[in-house]
């Protein structure tokens, strides 16, 4: 039951996006990038420097940016828009809905500083509803990669997927555990640890918390399976049903509202196919506040300890 993982370093996921985008600049001449005055925060500088004719600084005009990106697909461009997750979704929901999703435009909405780990800027900027909003949108693919390497791989992968994509990543430096040569398959979950007692299904920054939780649980003789559900939509239903059947109970973990997030999607699959006890680790119907990412994860009950607690609770429920 050894739960070992190789840590390859520590970097922010947004830098993975920046590197991936820069590589796309070389490999995909039709990739263009649009940014609403957050080039540095989104790590889009390298693309801007080397592909200036394909970089569009739109200023603080997110609605114009999204609708413009939709227009640029007419003519064969593959636009990647970059701003904070809050301004990538809530602020421009209607633009995404009409110009991008309903119109089936090949726009990649790339969103940084998602969730509580944005930290000190506080609740105005800490969007915790974006996964829900985006997964409800027909035609939209929703991806929440777990670390630097995976964000880079996902950024490159979505360029070759025809259709609208929401790619969510974040601000803080987090451990890197996905191999730098791993293949990113949209819609196919990664099993990080095999286990038999409980399934922990996580996305984004919570994948590493799930890894830590599984390591702690192992010390107590609890063998947890950890699944990196990086694609929220289309959901890997097969992987969910297989792990639920194997362990008989599920914990979902996400840096997002419990309402409308990954956990809800997993619960829907389970309730329709194989009702299974499930516990949710997520933010419970509240806004965040200013603080360090670590302080906020603890205060809002989405830390390693909360995953451990949920795992023990759900194991008890299956007996």
């Amino acid at each position: 039951m050894e739960k070992k993982i190789k840590i390859l370093g520590e970097k922010d996921t947004r830098s993975g996006f920046g590197e991936g985008l820069h590589e796309l600049g070389k490999s995909h001449p039709n990739v263009v990038a649009l940014c609403a005055d957050l080039t540095g925060s989104l790590k889009m500088n390298a693309f801007e420097d080397d592909f200036s004719d394909r970089f569009f600084q739109v200023g603080i005009s997110e609605a114009n940016m999204i609708s413009m990106a939709a227009g640029m697909t007419i003519g064969g461009k593959i636009p990647f828009t970059g701003t904070f997750a809050n301004f990538s979704t809530g602020r421009v929901y209607d633009q995404i809905r009409q110009s991008v999703a309903y119109s089936k435009k090949n726009v990649k909405i790339c969103a940084s500083h998602a969730g509580l780990t944005l930290g000190e800027d506080g609740a105005t900027h800490q969007i915790l509803e974006d996964i829900g909003m985006m997964k409800m949108m027909p035609n939209m693919t929703v991806i929440v990669p777990a670390d630097f390497n995976q964000t880079k791989q996902a950024t490159k992968a979505i360029a070759d997927l025809e259709g609208p994509v929401y790619l969510r990543f974040g601000r803080p430096k987090v451990p890197i555990f996905v191999a730098d040569d791993a293949e990113f398959v949209i819609g196919k979950a990664d099993t990080i640890f095999e286990g038999k007692d409980v399934s922990i299904i996580a996305c984004g920054h919570m994948v590493y918390k799930a890894i830590e939780a599984a390591q702690e649980l192992a010390k107590e003789g609890i063998n947890a399976e950890v699944i990196n559900m990086h694609t929220i939509k289309p959901l890997d239903i097969k992987a969910i049903l297989a792990t639920a059947k194997k362990t008989g109970c599920v914990v979902t973990a996400e840096e997002h509202m419990i309402n409308g997030g990954l956990g809800d999607s997993v619960a829907q699959v389970l309730s329709m196919n194989n009702p299974t006890p499930q516990e949710y680790v997520g933010v419970d119907d509240t806004f965040g506040e200013s603080g360090t990412p670590d302080e906020l994860m603890t205060k809002y009950n989405i830390d390693t300890a909360d995953v451990i607690k949920a795992a023990k609770k759900v194991i008890a429920r299956k007996k």
Partner: protein
């Protein structure tokens, strides 16, 4: 196409509009009728296009975006009469399983339409994006966008206005249907646009004005607009129209913005509009 023939097309399109709207007792006849002359001139005289071989990318062609999607009847009629799709299909407008959705949609691949519109304020940005793509593709054709005047109350329009001027999107010719009316009343009363010409000029746009019911002037104005392209500025045309033009009781009021005529009213309207190309 000569003016006389285009006038026949416009008359038929006005008949199509009132018949389509009356048939489903819903839709927006006022602005549609007001823009019938403009649409006819655009699709038969101004736009470089290939209706029989419609492609999404429109490479080497002019692109047209309708931002105020509620005037879909005039667009659908014009497209059908310009051979984008069969004229009889106009009878499906707003009905179940139709390609002619209440507001324009690409969901069922209706030729001539490249993006959905209806929720206002987005079309100018869509057009700017398409214009930027044309520049990257070294495609020297133009992008046209039509907006409503009431629509200019949407903030996104002014984001786009700033962008197009600041970034020298000079292959873009936008038009405002300047009829002065919106659902709740006169634009002046609902939320005044102030001096609209000066606003666009102050935003850095070449700004032209034209009588939207004089086809010769419309042609001359858009030819001038084309000649102003490629000089570092986007071009705006304020198209002065009368909402409901062609049907006497629909003019001089905002009441026919989004209301359908009843059977008696339809008959009265059709009596005022010559059937020139055959009803669908």
């Amino acid at each position: 196409m000569d003016i006389k023939t285009m006038e026949q097309y416009a008359s038929q399109t006005r008949r199509d509009i009132v018949r389509m709207v009356a048939a489903v007792n819903s839709g927006h006849p006022g602005g549609s009728l007001g823009c019938a002359d403009f649409f006819t001139v655009m699709y038969h005289k101004i736009l470089k296009q290939d209706p029989k071989n419609f492609t999404m990318d429109g490479e080497g062609e002019d692109l047209f975006f309708l931002s105020n999607g509620h005037i879909s009847p005039v667009w659908y009629s014009t497209l059908a009469r310009a051979n984008y799709f069969p004229v009889p299909e106009l009878a499906t407008f707003r009905k179940l399983n139709s390609r002619l959705q209440g507001h324009p949609s690409i969901d069922h691949n209706l030729p001539g339409i490249r993006i959905a519109s209806g929720s206002l304020g987005q079309g100018l940005s869509n057009g700017i994006g398409a214009a930027e793509a044309k520049k990257l593709n070294k495609d020297d054709r133009f992008v046209y966008v039509l907006m409503g005047d009431g629509e200019l109350q949407e903030g996104q329009i002014w984001e786009a206005a700033l962008y197009a001027a600041a970034k020298k999107v000079d292959n873009l010719i936008a038009t405002v249907d300047y009829n002065g009316r919106q659902i709740d009343g006169d634009v002046e009363d609902v939320l005044s646009l102030g001096n609209l010409k000066q606003k666009w000029q102050a935003f850095g746009w070449e700004t032209l004005e034209v009588d939207g019911h004089n086809m010769e002037e419309i042609i001359a104005t858009y030819e001038k607009a084309q000649s102003l392209c490629g000089k570092g500025k986007p071009v705006m045309v304020l198209l002065k129209t009368e909402m409901g033009q062609g049907v006497d009781y629909m003019t001089g009021t905002h009441k026919w913005h989004g209301a359908a005529p009843n059977a008696e009213q339809l008959e009265s309207a059709l009596n005022q509009l010559e059937e020139t190309l055959g009803d669908y």
